[in-house]
Symmetry: C2
Subunit: 222 residues, 2 copies
DNA sequence: CTAAAAAATTTGGGTTACCAAATAAATTTT
DNA sequence: AAAATTTATTTGGTAACCCAAATTTTTTAG
């Protein structure tokens, strides 16, 4: 038995789960290797081991698919990751853009009991600080009903849920505008000329391009 | 660079620090190997690596000593361990006897900044749930003024601080007696015959042997 | 001081997760 | 369909951390 619990296995399962969500097309060895920044030979070797463990199936068209068991494990890691992110932001006052790497370490810690207690301590949050849904202990995800800000209605109140683009430069830009998940805002105008938007954000009025607006995901505030 | 940060290194440094505190006599390879439940050959190999890194010195009498740098790193791990234990007990409602293994994982996570924030979040505790002092961010430890219960005075109020013996069986026994760090108690009598004690613990009276009493560390309640 | 015991060290292996480069197989282009 | 490209797979190798068993060195006892 490894001295590291199942850290590696967990990373493969997590990545496979994420890929299965993101792209519709099947996940092959190359795609997984690229996603994990590993050599295809390494990935093939590991995937075979996962297959022997019944966590993954190697289909006849060479695509890699999680079994029910593998899916469950992958979701658990995602659950852990997102709950720790909530902890870091809501309790330790990190900014939401800083927590990913730390959560990547914390997600491999310990027991399911620990994460269930953490969830209770945090008050059963449904979304992480990036706006991504947190699987409950049965693996169920709350539907995220967010839409792009560029598709939102004028003069209606919205709340930022997450961002479609997660490039650092974009996140830094948003941070300067004081736009983060949870921020309440309203579209006051859209310019015909270039499609740019005027927003009311916390009593001040700012301008953003249509491109930026399309990468901000919002939910109507009830 | 390893994919695991410095988990192994950290464990060696932590153990060396603990040994340097516990036993007065010098720490040799055999002792370290025993403490870590590893083969002496393994330990020797690792200690040499630590020595190359300047974290440890191999003295001419074959004893192993932490350098200032190594000591600092070892203390940091202990700090992390104890702060996470406080978190698990005070926030996630674990019992103090359950948290060691989880803290052993958490202690290897992440940044010094994280642990500083955690410390602040927890309100700068000076002792962990076992009663052991938590090094501050400069490595300073609060003096623990505890004495063995067997050396305590009759009819004076004390508070349990920690235990000298940390064997599971002993902790389980104490747990059944509802004795844990923080518990208030008073010696009502000591039998001449075998040195055993009568204690008042939370309104009930219990009997413990002298050996048990010598492994319970207490502080006078002000 | 010498024999026995203990500790330190060496030697030869094992496993896991990784990689680069070569080869084989499948897919796409033309 | 043949050529070119992409993907999958095999092969040979590395570094970290570990072990058991043999050997050497040191310490302890007689």
């Amino acid at each position: 038995m490894s001295h590291f619990g199942h850290q590696f296995e967990e990373n493969y399962l997590k990545e496979l789960y994420k890929l299965s969500q993101k792209d519709v097309k099947k996940v092959n060895n190359t795609a997984l290797a690229k996603a994990m920044a590993l050599n295809p030979a390494t990935v093939l070797e590991m995937v075979r081991k996962l297959s022997e463990k019944g966590l993954v199936e190697l289909l006849s068209d060479k695509s890699i698919q999680l079994t029910e068991q593998g899916k469950k494990k992958g979701l658990l890691i995602i659950r852990k990751h997102r709950l720790w992110e909530v902890f870091l932001v809501s309790k330790l006052k990190y900014r939401w853009s800083e927590v990913h790497d730390l959560a990547e370490q914390l997600e491999h810690v310990g027991s399911e009991d620990l994460i269930n207690r953490l969830e209770e301590f945090l008050g059963y949050p449904a979304f992480d600080p990036h706006g991504d849904p947190i699987p409950d202990r049965n693996g169920k995800l709350k539907k995220n009903t967010a839409i792009a800000l560029s598709k939102a209605l004028k003069n209606k109140n919205y709340q930022v849920v997450s961002f479609a683009d997660t490039a650092d430069s974009f996140l830094d830009y948003l941070s300067k505008l004081q736009i983060e998940p949870g921020t309440k805002l309203k579209i006051t105008d859209q310019l015909e000329y270039d499609g740019s938007f005027s927003l009311t954000v916390q009593k001040s009025i700012i301008q953003i391009s249509e491109k930026v607006a399309s990468n901000i995901l919002v939910q109507p505030v009830i």
